[in-house]
């Protein structure tokens, strides 16, 4: 049974969605606990999200 390419693309998107979503959740909780550190938390969240998105895009292009 051959799995079509597009199913692989869908799995990649699910993975990226869960990854970036949980990064966002952690960031929101941290901001909720310490609103003073919002700037640093936002910066760290963006960096982590870009890394996850990078792998997602690379996989999407390979598919």
């Amino acid at each position: 049974m051959v799995i079509p390419d597009i199913v692989g693309a869908g799995l990649v998107v699910i993975g990226v969605g869960i990854g970036i979503g949980s990064i966002g959740r952690g960031a929101m909780e941290a901001i909720g606990r310490q609103p003073d550190a919002t700037g640093k938390i936002q910066t760290a969240m963006l960096i982590a999200a870009a890394l996850v998105e990078g792998i997602g895009f690379a996989a999407l292009f390979a598919v």
């Binding site: 910066t43 960096i47 870009a50 998105e53 990078g54 792998i55 895009f57 690379a58 999407l60 292009f61």
Partner: protein, 369 residues
């Protein structure tokens, strides 16, 4: 009455309206006027070819093209010099290639453009396709000034003029910036205080600031240039991002101290069987980190362009009023997101480069060695 609404608006709302109008121009990338009698399959093939043509590099600066009444394609744009190395330097104007329709006769050789690449052919312009349906003629070394090269040089010139003006204004006005460079001073300070110093440290950050600043503004301006209706796609070209990642890689490894290499191949504080297992993985990490920089920028920008152009092509697929206007709204919203992505990708590239430089020049004291 509608005119009165615009004129009677208070000044603040007036400027917001102007900003939205200018942003709306960012969506106007639809250049091709399609033939009314085209069938759906013809439309799909034309859209695909339009998108592919945008992603590739062209040998002439083509602004727009349309089909006139005689059925021929009229291009509005300027030809660029083609420079080939084929046992001797051959320089000619790309108007001889005529967008892939005619064969250029240069000296004794004939060259033809096929899907964006220049091949060496005979007088009638035959291109031999092999079994995989790829052309198998000889390819001369192509060093032409293409559209991408022109935009790289243009961006470099703009950046030089902008920041030289800013630096001169400091000298003239006593350490206070005046003029349009004023907008970039907080960004430069942000890169120094929030990106360079936390990652590289107070002691060594001066050495890398020049490269980090150039990198950030270069990638940001090139990304923004790709969103204009000029149809220039530079950072969506893997060769450009490869060179940027290569420069980061070279600078990281040249400025690597003994601590850096020790941490990769013979990390301290780890039992020796683990060291032998971890060394190849860390070595691969040295290669993969710039590789991921290259892929991340390339994939983000070209995927954004593909999505944007597909949505704009959707305007032509729907032939009724509601479908076209909704696709236009969607394309407009995605353009706004792409402007954010342009700045974000430049920021991420700079932050990760600063991080890698920080690893290379890090000097800290461990407890056990």
């Amino acid at each position: 009455m509608r005119l009165g609404l615009i004129i009677g608006m208070p000044k603040k709302l007036h400027s917001k309206f102007l900003i939205f109008f200018l942003l709306g121009l960012a969506s106007i990338n639809a250049k091709e006027t399609l033939n009314e009698s085209a069938s759906v399959d013809n439309l799909k093939a034309e859209i695909k070819e339009y998108i592919l043509h945008h992603l590739q590099d062209n040998h002439d600066f083509n602004l727009l093209s349309y089909t006139n009444e005689l059925g021929e394609k009229v291009h509005i744009g300027a030809p660029l010099p083609v420079i080939l190395w084929d046992e001797g330097l051959k320089i000619f104007s790309s108007s001889k290639l005529n967008h892939g329709k005619s064969v250029a006769h240069v000296g004794e050789n004939y060259y033809k453009l096929d899907h964006g690449k220049i091949y060496k052919t005979d007088a009638s312009g035959t291109i031999n396709y092999d079994t995989l349906h790829e052309a198998s003629n000889t390819v001369p070394l192509d060093l032409s000034i293409t559209k991408g090269v022109v935009s790289l040089l243009f961006t470099a010139l703009i950046m030089f003029l902008l920041f030289k003006g800013l630096a001169d204004s400091y000298k003239k006005n006593g350490l206070v910036a005046k003029g349009i460079g004023r907008f970039f001073e907080p960004i430069v300070i942000y890169i120094r205080d929030e990106i360079a110093i936390p990652n590289i440290g107070e002691k060594h950050h001066r050495k890398f600031m020049g490269y980090l600043l150039t990198l950030f503004f270069f990638v940001w301006f090139l990304n923004l240039l790709g969103l204009t209706p000029l149809g220039i796609n530079v950072t969506g070209n893997i060769a450009v991002t490869f060179c940027l990642a290569l420069i980061t890689f070279v600078i990281t490894n040249i400025s690597g101290k003994k601590e850096y290499w020790k941490h990769i191949f013979w990390m301290p504080g780890v039992p020796w069987p683990m060291k032998i297992v971890l060394a190849p993985i860390e070595f691969l990490g040295v290669l993969i980190k710039p590789f991921s920089l290259m892929i991340r920028l390339y994939a983000n920008i070209s995927a954004g362009h593909i999505v944007l152009m597909s949505l704009i092509s959707l305007i032509f697929v729907f032939k009724n009023f509601i479908g076209s206007s909704l696709s236009f709204m969607l394309a407009f919203s995605i353009s706004i997101i792409e402007i954010l992505v342009a700045a974000l990708q430049a920021y991420i590239f700079t932050v990760l480069s600063a991080l890698y430089f920080g690893f290379a020049v890090e000097e800290h004291d461990h407890d056990d060695h």
